[in-house]
């Protein structure tokens, strides 16, 4: 091939890039770069051609947005990780420093998630050993338990508080937490905490970097196999499919909907004994398979045509396979070979020169020439990058104009290696540095051999620019242009133009779904090859998301789902040139990570054609055509079938208390402690009187410390008795006495009433009545001995009734009707002193008029719920109990 007679002028210097900067918004516009005399050598014609900004061909979009090409990919698609998931407080904190962005990763939250989600892995053995010693209840610990048990509730509360005050500038250290973490940091965790933290942090960083830029799908998983005869309308599209994107589909393009072939599984056996990669033979596929099930997500599909046959290379993380697709339409693709790698492969390219030759790179820095016939040949193994140190393990390799020379790339540049003597024969094709006029921080993103346009040209994309390099003049870009894309272009596709035509290059990004159409020229003019020129302004193509506005209106939640589905990162692009008589059109396919394939058509407007009346600006139709609209509807219908039927979520959410509390927790203890009774009693009384409880806790021991000699209580009316007591200063005690007295009275009254009822029911045995009367007597007598009923140590000292309320008339809080059975039975054996019998009789008379005991207030059940099982075990559970009705919450 001829070399251009003169190249565009440019400076050449070596060394690291000096130009600072970053992604500049408009850097690709307005510059012509350099000019070159077009007819150099001819006499008078002094016409100059620019390096950039020449006229290109006009390709106009035929539709308002991208159109679904295939029915939606089946299977529930899992939304990918979002920045909010791993960043602090869900907000990206960008500290832009010298073009580097740093984010505050929420490390502690992730570690916390790990402890909560995998407690067995985090604390397995020690948790089992210690679970008896950690107590999570609210109540106080009893003596024997306290010796060996820590109450964790306060610690938990501290943690909650810490969480609530997160980000508060006045946040103080919680000493209890610090103390606890210091104490058990070294032994509590199953995996040493430092090690675990390192792993979590590493994983977080990994996830974050892959969120910023994921290089695994580099190259794209979509390929177009053009028909042998360019006029034919048939071709094949190769794309991944299925829930895990692990079905390789090779679809003749005239079949647009449905049409599945039989599945052929490719079993892979054996383990690699080769250092990195091993070759395995494949069984032949029977029948005519159009779909192959692979055991890994398809990351890249590469294709090249040699001698009229297409070779399709498929890369997944640990396997690479190659298929041969005969030129004849309808002929079955033939699987040729699969290799397994021990390190994920980062690149697979197919030779355009020799059948069955591919190049494979792995993340360990190895580059292989893979021939189906002779196997693998390792050309290079270097974990270091070529020109300067870069942490990325990404490697790429492609073919060059010489079938035995391969280009080898990492983030720092490209080298060409002769596979016959890879150690000795190599030269640098591209370096990130002053040689290419690069910026600081610029990195190679995707190299591509442009052999179909020109045998010695290569395309190199970085996050800022695209370069066209020529092997014959290495290091000096033939063309450079700042592409201004929002994400690094990791997909590229070349549609070579014929003589007199421009070559079309499509660049695509993953995360932002951008697609850009560039045209460049390197044609022959006047007998000599002219230098490379960028032709025409770049053109943006429709992304998959663009069709959202043209889809039928959806319910809001459906709309959101649809939006999510359509805005997933792109996974590949391909293009097909169709010539239909004089009309040329370019079909551009875009694949999303969810497995959907969309396409759009660009039609070529020849220069001679009359310009449309509305000026020279291409007008993209604002609305989809009816046929397209139908396609949208059908696609949406098919998609909604995949969405889970809503019947499962249709019922309103119900909450059963069964789920909230265990049966055991809901059970009332057989015999509540005295403390309980006391508490319940006081609560009830306070409620009835509308009063309040002042001291809930154990009283100060002082009032009880000096028991005063009991004065004989005369027949004082309640008021004077009370006043007397108040005068003498022990009003509290008086009240105590009084309440306990009335409690006992009431109990007795109750019992009396029951006795009467029994009697009314039928004849009773004399002995029974006798016994009961006897006990009744003894009970009363005992009460007289010790004035206040000795209640539990936590007996309240002062329960103040509301001012002015008649003390006598307000019946004191009565114990629950069932519970007193126990205590009353014990009371039965107590006698009643004679002098109090009248009071009793009076009282009983009052009681008879009283309404029956109201049912137990629901509050009591609540109070019992809080009783930990350990306490209920303490109380004797031997007594038979009646089941309580469950009260609704």
């Amino acid at each position: 091939m001829e070399f251009p007679a003169a190249l565009f002028p440019s400076y050449f210097s070596t060394g690291p890039p000096r130009e600072e900067g970053g992604p500049a918004p408009a850097s690709g516009w307005g510059e012509l770069g350099q000019v070159l005399e077009a007819g150099l050598g001819r006499r008078q014609a002094e016409t100059f051609v620019p390096r950039r900004g020449g006229t290109g061909e006009s390709w106009e979009p035929a539709d308002a947005a991208a159109v679904p090409f295939l029915p939606p990919n089946a299977g529930s698609w899992i939304p990918s990780l979002l920045p909010q998931d791993i960043l602090c407080r869900g907000i990206a904190h960008w500290k832009s420093r010298a073009g580097k962005s740093e984010a505050a990763l929420d490390f502690s939250r992730q570690l916390g998630h790990f402890f909560v989600d995998h407690p067995e892995d985090a604390f397995g053995s020690l948790g089992q050993l210690l679970h008896k010693n950690f107590y999570l209840g609210n109540s106080k610990l009893r003596r024997p338990a306290r010796e060996s048990t820590i109450r964790m509730t306060a610690l938990m509360e501290d943690i909650d508080r810490l969480e609530a005050r997160r980000g508060c500038p006045r946040q103080r250290l919680v000493y209890r937490l610090r103390w606890f973490s210091h104490l058990c940091r070294d032994w509590l965790f199953e995996v040493p905490l430092g090690l675990l933290a390192d792993c979590v942090h590493e994983e977080l960083l990994l996830q974050w970097t892959s969120l910023l830029f994921d290089d695994i799908p580099t190259g794209g998983a979509l390929a177009w196999l053009p028909p042998e005869d360019t006029g034919a309308r048939m071709g094949r599209l190769v794309y991944p499919r299925g829930q895990a994107m692990n079905h390789l589909c090779i679809l003749p393009s005239e079949v647009s909907w449905g049409g599945k072939g039989s599945r052929v599984a490719l079993p892979l056996t054996g383990t690699p004994d080769f250092q990195d990669v091993v070759v395995e033979e494949l069984p032949h596929a029977r029948g005519s398979p159009a779909q192959f099930e692979l055991n890994g997500r398809i990351r890249q599909v590469a294709a090249a045509r040699v001698d009229g046959e297409d070779f399709v290379g498929v890369r997944s993380d640990y396997h690479c396979g190659v298929w041969k697709v005969p030129a004849r339409m309808g002929a079955a693709p033939i699987p040729l070979q699969v290799i397994r790698t021990s390190v994920p492969a980062s690149c697979l390219t197919v030779s355009p020169h020799l059948p069955g030759e591919l190049s494979v790179c792995t993340q360990s820095g190895a580059v292989y020439l893979w021939s189906v016939e002779t196997g693998l040949q390792r050309l290079r193994h270097d974990t270091q990058t070529m020109f300067f140190r870069d942490h990325s393990a990404w490697r790429w390799s492609d073919f060059t104009a010489h079938p035995r020379v391969l280009s080898c790339a990492d983030r720092t540049g490209l080298q060409c290696l002769d596979s016959r003597a890879p150690e000795r024969c190599h030269f640098d094709l591209f370096k990130v540095g002053e040689e290419g006029g690069c910026q600081q921080g610029e990195r190679v993103v995707l190299p591509m051999y442009l052999g179909r346009a020109h045998p010695s040209q290569h395309l190199i994309t970085t996050q800022f620019s695209v370069y066209v390099m020529d092997e014959r003049l290495p290091l000096v870009p033939m063309l450079k242009w700042a592409h201004m894309m929002k994400a690094p272009p990791i997909f590229a596709h070349l549609t070579p133009g014929g003589p007199g035509r421009s070559h079309k290059v499509l660049l695509g990004t993953s995360r932002t779904q951008e697609m850009l159409l560039l045209q460049y020229r390197g044609e022959k003019q006047g007998g000599s090859q002219s230098a490379c020129q960028l032709a025409g302004p770049p053109q943006k193509l429709h992304s998959i998301t663009s069709c959202l506005q043209h889809l039928p209106t959806q319910l809001p939640h459906r709309h959101r789902l649809l939006q999510q589905r359509l805005s997933v990162p792109a996974a590949g692009l391909a293009a097909a040139l169709q010539e239909d008589g004089p009309q040329e059109s370019l079909l551009v396919f875009q694949l999303s990570e969810a497995g959907d394939v969309f396409c759009q058509r660009l039609t070529h407007r020849a220069a001679q054609a009359p310009a449309p009346t509305l000026g020279d600006e291409p007008c993209c139709p604002a609305l989809p055509s009816p046929a397209t609209a139908l396609r949208y509807r059908r696609w949406l219908k098919a998609l909604s079938k995949h969405w889970r039927p809503p019947t499962q979520q249709a019922w309103p959410p119900t909450l059963s208390q069964n789920r909230l509390f265990t049966r055991k927790e809901l059970e009332t203890p057989v015999s509540p402690s005295a403390l309980h009774q006391q508490a319940r009693q006081r609560l009830r009384q306070a409620m009835r009187e509308g009063g309040r409880i002042q001291h809930w806790d154990t009283p100060a021991p002082q009032p009880l410390a000096l028991p005063q000699p009991l004065e004989p209580v005369g027949r004082l009316d309640p008021l004077s008795a009370r006043l007397t007591a108040a005068w003498s200063g022990d009003w509290g005690q008086w009240w105590e006495e009084r309440t306990s007295f009335s409690v006992a009275q009431k109990q007795r009254a109750l019992r009396e009433r029951r006795r009467r009822q029994k009697r009314a029911r039928g004849p009773r045995s004399l002995s029974a009545s006798f016994t009961s009367s006897l006990t009744y007597q003894s009970e009363l007598s005992e009460l007289s001995d010790t004035a206040p009923v000795p209640c539990s140590p936590g007996c309240p000292t002062a329960v103040l009734p509301r001012e002015g309320s008649p003390v006598g008339s307000s019946p004191p809080a009565s114990p629950a009707p069932e519970e007193p059975l126990l205590s009353s039975q014990s009371l039965l054996c107590r006698g009643i002193p004679k002098e109090r019998q009248k009071t009793l009789r009076d009282y009983l008379a009052v009681e008879e008029e009283d309404p029956p005991e109201p049912p137990e207030p629901p509050g009591s059940q609540l109070s019992q719920l809080c009783i930990p099982s350990s306490q209920s075990q303490l109380s004797s559970a031997s007594q038979p109990r009646r089941k309580r009705p469950r009260m609704g919450f």
Binding site: M1, E2, F3, A5, A6, L7, F8, P9, S10, Y11, F12, S13, G21, G22, A24, P25, A26, S27, W29, G30, E31, L32, G33, Q34, V35, E37, L40, R43, E46, T47, F48, V49, P50, G53, D307, H353, L354, P355, A401, H402, P403, R404, G451, P455, S456, R472, L473, P474, L475, V476, M484, P537, P538, Q539, K540, G615, D616, E617, P618, C620
Partner: protein, 373 residues
């Protein structure tokens, strides 16, 4: 609130810019122009210390829009450029250079020349390294334009002398053009870079005035200075110069040998091969075989009839003379595992036969000899 104001301003500026960008990428130049008129406001409150400020963005976008807008004219473009030149001191030279390119591409050579002269006389403080480079380029392009006017005068003079009368003023002007061109062109080609058109013009000037030594030196420097990139054209120019001046075969061969080393797929390899084949020396003939084999390794030569006939001729010669069959063997050994699939596949044989019969004959001959062994 001034901070907030700044933030809001920045945000709306960014949004506006993204609208412009979007319109431009869809070739909606009129819409982009409308948005740009709003964006110009950002110049008034330029708080940014960013890598690319709004004035540069306006220059770039404005230029691009004016180039594609259906209603723009060169006059408007020029006045826009003049305004842009005053916007930033640092960018003055760059804008001048780009303006010149635009004028040159539109065939406005005189305006471009004026523009360059004006830019050359511009001084502002100390020049940065980039400005220094831009200034050198401005001078070089002025030298190039001087060369064109020189060559115009030369043609007039040559026509006149054929007619039999001399014009002193034309001749004087021509010489002054030469001096101006030579000074500027000489400067730029000292700096490492790709200066194909400047070198060609400078050598042309020198050759016209008979300064062959200087010309040879310039070409040698351009080809062999290790600070320059390995530009095949540098070697081609040297070879052509040597050929023009009837240099010895030896020096021609050595020039092409180096070209062969840096670009074995260069089209001059056919000339090189023919030259070597004719040589009496065995070593040279062997090199010729190597050269043609190496050239045919490249995909771009696959269907080159000339190259195949060169190879066929030489291989035939060797086989007929039955001398140096080992040369073929050595060459073939490193290729026998892939040339058959690369060049001699059934598919290619069929296609070559359909498309180019003579190519088929040559290839068939070579294949017969090589594969027969």
């Amino acid at each position: 609130s001034s901070r907030e104001h700044k933030l809001n301003f920045k945000k709306s500026k960014e949004v506006c810019l993204s609208y412009i960008q979007d319109a431009m990428l869809q070739k909606q130049w009129k819409r982009a122009a409308e948005f740009l008129t709003f964006y110009v406001e950002s110049l008034e409150k330029d708080y940014s210390r960013e890598y690319m400020g709004p004035s540069e963005i306006i220059w770039r976008i404005g230029t691009e829009i004016l180039c594609h807008h259906s209603q723009s004219s060169m006059k408007e473009f020029n006045s826009f450029m003049e305004q842009m030149k005053t916007l930033g001191v640092k960018r003055y030279l760059k804008v001048c250079l780009e303006h010149t390119f635009r004028l040159l591409c539109n065939g406005l050579i005189d305006e471009a020349y004026q523009n360059l002269s004006l830019a050359e006389s511009w001084r502002y403080g100390e020049q940065t390294a980039i400005q220094d480079k831009e200034m050198k380029l401005i001078q070089a392009y002025r030298g190039l334009l001087d060369y064109y006017s020189w060559s115009k005068q030369k043609n007039i003079l040559l026509e006149n002398s054929q007619d039999g009368f001399e014009d002193l003023s034309v001749e004087q002007e021509m010489h002054s053009c030469f001096r101006k061109a030579a000074v500027n062109l000489k400067e730029i080609i000292k700096i490492p870079g790709v200066w194909d058109q400047f070198v060609k013009c400078y050598v042309d000037l020198l050759e016209f005035y008979g300064d062959h030594n200087e010309a040879r030196q310039v070409l040698n420097e351009y080809a062999y200075n290790s600070k320059f990139p390995a530009n095949p054209n540098a070697h081609v120019y040297l070879y052509q110069f040597l050929k023009r001046h009837g240099e010895s075969k030896k020096s021609l061969i050595s020039a092409l040998k180096i070209l062969h080393d840096i670009a074995p797929s260069h089209e001059l390899m056919i000339d090189f091969n023919t030259m070597l084949q004719k040589s009496k020396k065995r070593k040279k003939r062997r090199l010729g075989l190597e050269v043609i084999f190496a050239a045919l390794d490249y995909a771009g030569w696959k269907e080159n009839v000339k190259a195949w006939s060169c190879l066929a001729r030489q291989v035939k010669q060797i086989v007929i003379s039955e001398k140096h069959l080992d040369w073929i063997k050595v060459e073939w050994n490193s290729r026998k595992d892939w040339w058959p699939a690369f060049h001699f596949s059934r598919y290619l044989a069929k296609r070559n036969w359909q498309e180019n019969e003579s190519l088929s004959y040559e290839k068939a001959l070579v294949a017969g000899i090589l594969l027969g062994k």
